[in-house]
Every structure is written in structure tokens, then in C-alpha cells.
């Protein structure tokens, strides 16, 4: 069983995992390995093209773009993983409770979910961020809230299926309480589809978070969040395109590799595919 499991790990998943892992390590080490101070102005070195000293060139204040991209990497990761974690933590319990309690509790939760889904995602993010001072944490929270309804729906659908299983019946017959059944019987068995949904969500969370930052509703200057860096590069797009291209291409690489990992996990964990494997 164990061997079969490792054999089925697709190569793209490994490759994507390695890239995502290296980006995470670079982001974590960022502040210590940057070749230049990311926020230090150097007026004589304004708008320098990429070179051996400045790999990604310098920006309009003479700041080293490579150092800034490195120092800003953790924002995108936090926004992707943090926001998805928030939507999991809020959405999954709601979905489990809706499936378990039924009746008006379920009705109230699912109507709330319907309401949130009837607002376009970007608009919901804007609405949450509209009237408070923007910051990384708030953007993360807004993106997380946007994806709560999807997590709730997935968790409820999975739990509804599991609640009909014999082992839940057995737990009920033992006289276990609702919390025990949800936390100890349902949740451990609900993980695979939830992990798949989570992994696929992270790409969208990074996308939405960086788009909101790009629009000025995320971390503020002189922070070097990638979306913000791209937004700030616009006036210099003609004379120094590298200021925007560097963080943009890094963002693309991150998005592709996170998505590859998500799809790889789906192929690995999807119960339907696994069922097919057992014949």
C-alpha cells in the first residue's frame, strides 16, 4: 500500500513542490540573504538596468529590485496560505455544523453562504477593505473571508456523505456527543477532499491578494509586496521595465508552481480517482 502510494506521486507534483518549497525558504531567509538593503535609497544608482551587481536592476530610488523582490516574497505566500487557512478555519466548522444540525441552523448558514457567493469576489474583497487602513493582515483576512463560502459548501457536502456511514451510526450508538462525532469521526475522514480544495484555492488567494495590493488595498509603501511593486513600476514602464517585470515574473512562477502542486494533490487524493484505482 505504502509503495503504491509513493509510486503514484506524479513528477509534476514533485517539481512544483520543490519550486514552492524553495520560494518558501527564500522568502523565510529573505531579510538575511538580501545583497542590498531593500528600502535603502541610492540616488546615484537610479533606474539601472539589470547587471551583475543588481540582478534585477534598480528602481526610481536606486533601490535594488532583486533585494526588494526577495524581501517581499513572504507577502504573497502569507496571502495565499494565510488567507486559505482563514477560510478553512471559519468555513469548515460552519459546513460541518450545517451538515450535522440540519433544520434552521443549516438553513441560516447556507443562506448566508448563498448571499456571500452572490457578491463578485473582488467586490467582496473591496467591500471589506474599503473603509479601513490597508495592511497585509487585513488583505489576508479579506481574501480569507471571500473564500469561506466555498469551504463551507465543500465541507458540508463531504460531511453529509460521511454522516450516512456506518461508523457514524456506531458512534451515535455508543452515545457520543455531537462535538465528538464531528471532530473525531467526520473531520479525519473529510480531509482528502478538503486538502484538494485548499490546494487549488491557494492559487486564487494569491491572485486575489496581489490584485488587491496592486489596487492599493494591501501592504503600503515602502513595503515590497509584488502586486504593489508592479503598481508602483507603472510610471517607469518605458525607461525601466525591469522594476515591474521582475516581481511579475516571480509571481507567475509562484502561481504556476502552486497550481501544479494543487492539481497534483487532486490527482493523488481525489476519492473518485482512488476508487478507480481499487478497481
Amino acid at each position: 500500500m505504502k509503495e503504491g502510494f509513493t509510486q503514484r506521486i506524479p513528477r509534476t507534483l514533485v517539481l512544483g513542490g520543490i519550486i514552492v518549497g524553495s520560494i518558501c525558504i527564500l522568502a523565510a531567509l529573505g531579510p538575511w540573504i538580501v545583497p542590498f538593503e531593500p528600502d535603502a535609497f541610492a540616488i546615484r544608482e537610479r533606474l539601472l538596468a539589470p547587471s551583475a551587481a543588481h540582478w534585477f536592476g534598480t528602481d526610481e530610488f536606486g533601490r535594488d529590485v532583486f533585494s526588494r523582490v526577495l524581501a517581499g516574497a513572504h507577502h504573497s505566500l502569507l496571502m495565499g496560505f494565510g488567507a486559505t487557512a482563514i477560510s478553512l478555519v471559519i468555513g469548515v466548522p460552519l459546513g460541518l455544523i450545517a451538515a450535522f444540525r440540519r433544520g434552521w441552523t443549516e438553513e441560516a448558514i447556507m443562506r448566508g453562504v448563498d448571499l456571500m457567493i452572490s457578491i463578485p469576489p473582488v467586490l467582496l474583497g473591496l467591500l471589506i477593505l474599503a473603509v479601513s487602513d490597508p495592511s497585509l493582515f487585513k488583505t489576508m483576512l479579506a481574501v480569507g473571508l471571500v473564500y469561506v463560502p466555498i469551504m463551507t459548501r465543500v465541507a458540508r457536502a463531504v460531511a453529509l456523505g460521511l454522516l450516512a456511514e456506518d461508523f457514524v451510526e456506531a458512534a451515535r450508538a455508543r452515545g457520543e456527543g455531537g462535538f465528538h462525532i464531528l471532530a473525531r469521526e467526520i473531520l479525519p475522514n473529510a480531509w482528502p477532499p478538503l486538502i484538494v480544495e485548499t490546494a487549488l484555492r491557494i492559487t486564487f488567494a494569491i491572485l486575489l491578494g496581489s490584485a488587491l495590493s496592486f489596487l492599493g488595498l494591501g501592504p503600503q509603501p515602502p513595503d515590497s509586496e509584488w502586486g504593489l511593486m508592479i503598481a508602483e513600476s507603472r510610471p517607469f514602464i518605458g525607461e525601466a521595465p525591469w522594476i515591474g517585470l521582475a516581481p511579475g515574473l516571480c509571481l507567475c512562477l509562484l502561481l504556476v508552481s502552486v497550481n501544479v502542486v494543487g492539481e497534483g494533490l487532486r490527482d493523488l487524493l481525489d476519492p473518485r480517482l482512488r476508487g478507480r484505482g481499487h478497481g
Binding site: V122, L129, R234, L245
Partner: protein
């Protein structure tokens, strides 16, 4: 069928009402003084008090809500704080500009997306089919705002073919001047959606082609194009319609970003302007209009689906 439409209409009305409550609460209950934000850090207390009086911020919340809500029902969005003009006409004008972007984009996406989808489903493994799969990755990997930058860099800065930003009314610039400003924004908007729609049409078309009714149609000796057009295509397009509403959601998000980058004077840019300047009536009005459009798009997609799908039609009239 009438029952189904009536139920959906009621739910749309409910969503819109709930949205007014949500927008109002978030804007008014979150910490931070509105007057303070408008006047800035160094405002005197008297100035803040005067502005709060003028905006009716001292009234109880339910009264403020009622004031705003009853205005909305009459089509009155209140006065824009920064431009000192009624917000309604500003919003409607911006909406018209966005509608041009959205309309042109949807038509292009529908035509090109469906055509590409059919082509790649009937030519599995061809270069076009493989290209489409790659495009899907591209769509996921390149954020819309970064794509805008790339497009501006390439077509406006390096080649100098098209203007990078702005908008020319038909009356001023003629058709050519007007269209020139639309090419880049529309091109940016449709690319991702075409990838999405064509993937979807491709997979549902493949499913239809493998079905027994297509086999039967072929066995009858019908020419291939009749089989595809009369038998496979109508069934393949049905699932595409449900995703249409999702795509409108993506399109709205895209429009906000694209309008900001290309300085296109539509609803999305207005909304960002309103947020940046804390112009609450403009912001709340813009959000309500966008939600309403999204709700209507969803409604239309649902009704279209029901009209086109006999199975839903039957259960709808029975229930």
C-alpha cells in the same frame, strides 16, 4: 416555469436588500471616523463636527440606513462627497462606459471561446488543441494586472501602436479613435475568459461526441457537420451556460483591475477612486450597482438554463 422564475426573482430581490444592509453596516460600523478620514489628520474638531452634521452622521444608524435605502429605491444615490454632485448620474455614466467594455468582451468571448472549444474538441491532439491547454495555464499563472502591464509595455511602449491609457468618446475621436482605446483593455479582459470558456466547451463537446445519440446520428448517415451542429453542440453548450455566471463574476473583477490600469473611466475605476478618497455615497452606490448587475446576470443564466434544459423545465413547472 413561471413559479421557477418568480422564486428566482424573489431571491434576487432578497440578495439585493441584504447587500444594502451589508454594505451599509460595513461602511458605518467599522472603526474609524468617516469625517476624520475625509478631512484628514489635521482637521479641527469643529470642522469634523460640522461635516458630521452635514452628512447626517449624528443620526441613529437605522435612520441613516433608512435615509440611504429609501433614496436608493427612488434612484437617488446621494451626493458624491468629493465631487459635490449627485452620485447617481456619475455612477450611470461610468456604468455606460463599463458596459461597452463588458459587452464587447462578452460577445468576443462567446464567439471565439465556443469556436475554439468546438475546434479543439473535433481536432483532439492538434496544435490548436495543445495550444488551448497551454493557454489555460497561462490564464492561471499570469495575473490580469500583470498582463495589463505586459500588454502596455509591448503594444504601447515598444511598438507604439496603441494608446496605453484613456478613453475617447465616439463623438470626439470617431470610430477609430474610440476603438483604439478599447483594443488593449478588451484584449486583456477576454484572453483569460476565452481560455476558460473554450476549455469548458471542449470538454462538454467531447462528452457529447462520445454519446450514443451522436453515434446514432452518425449511423443514420448524417453528414458530420449536421451531427455536430444539430446533435452534439446544443447539448454541449448547456453546461457552458451555468458557468457563464461565474465568468461574469471574473469579468467584473477583471474590469475593476483593467479600468484602473488603463485609466478607463468606467465603474471599476470609479469604485477604486471612491475607496481611495473615502467618497462613501459613490462607493456604496457603485457597489450596489455592481451587485445588482451580477445578480441579474446570474438570474439570466439560470433562466436560460431552465429554458434550454427540458429536464429542469419539467421539474420546475411541477414544483
Amino acid at each position: 416555469m413561471t413559479g421557477f422564475i418568480a422564486r428566482r426573482l424573489v431571491s434576487v430581490v432578497f440578495v439585493l436588500w441584504a447587500m444594502t444592509v451589508l454594505v451599509f453596516l460595513i461602511v458605518h460600523v467599522l472603526p474609524g471616523s468617516v469625517a476624520h478620514m475625509i478631512l484628514g489628520e489635521y482637521a479641527t474638531n469643529e470642522a469634523i463636527a460640522a461635516l458630521e452634521q452635514r452628512l447626517g452622521l449624528n443620526d441613529p444608524l437605522y435612520l441613516q440606513y433608512w435615509h440611504w435605502f429609501s433614496g436608493l429605491l427612488r434612484g437617488d444615490f446621494g451626493n458624491s462627497l468629493t465631487m459635490d454632485r449627485p452620485a447617481g448620474p456619475l455612477i450611470m455614466d461610468a456604468l455606460g462606459k463599463s458596459a461597452i467594455l463588458a459587452g464587447v468582451s462578452i460577445v468576443l468571448v462567446a464567439i471565439i471561446g465556443i469556436a475554439l472549444g468546438i475546434h479543439s474538441a473535433t481536432h483532439v491532439g492538434s496544435w490548436a488543441d495543445r495550444g488551448l491547454t497551454l493557454m489555460q495555464y497561462f490564464f492561471i499563472a499570469v495575473p490580469e494586472f500583470f498582463w495589463c502591464i505586459l500588454v502596455i509595455l509591448f503594444f504601447a511602449v515598444w511598438l507604439g501602436w496603441l494608446p496605453a491609457t484613456g478613453y475617447t468618446p465616439l463623438a470626439d475621436g470617431g470610430v477609430l479613435g474610440w476603438a483604439k482605446h478599447l483594443v488593449l483593455p478588451v484584449g486583456t479582459l477576454v484572453l483569460g475568459l476565452i481560455a476558460h470558456v473554450s476549455r469548458l466547451v471542449r470538454s462538454s463537446m467531447l462528452e457529447a461526441i462520445e454519446s450514443r445519440y451522436v453515434l446514432a446520428a452518425r449511423a443514420k448517415g448524417l453528414p458530420e457537420w449536421v451531427v455536430l451542429r444539430r446533435h452534439a453542440l446544443p447539448n454541449a453548450l448547456l453546461p457552458a451556460i451555468t458557468v457563464l455566471a461565474v465568468d461574469v463574476g471574473i469579468l467584473i473583477g477583471g474590469i475593476v483591475v483593467v479600468e484602473s490600469v488603463f485609466a478607463y473611466p468606467g465603474l471599476g475605476r470609479m469604485l477604486i477612486y471612491a475607496i481611495d478618497n473615502q467618497d462613501l455615497p459613490l462607493m456604496m452606490g457603485g457597489m450596489m450597482v455592481i451587485t445588482a448587475i451580477y445578480a441579474i446576470a446570474n438570474l439570466v443564466a439560470d433562466i436560460l438554463y431552465a429554458v434550454l434544459n427540458p429536464r429542469i423545465r419539467v421539474s420546475g413547472s411541477a414544483g
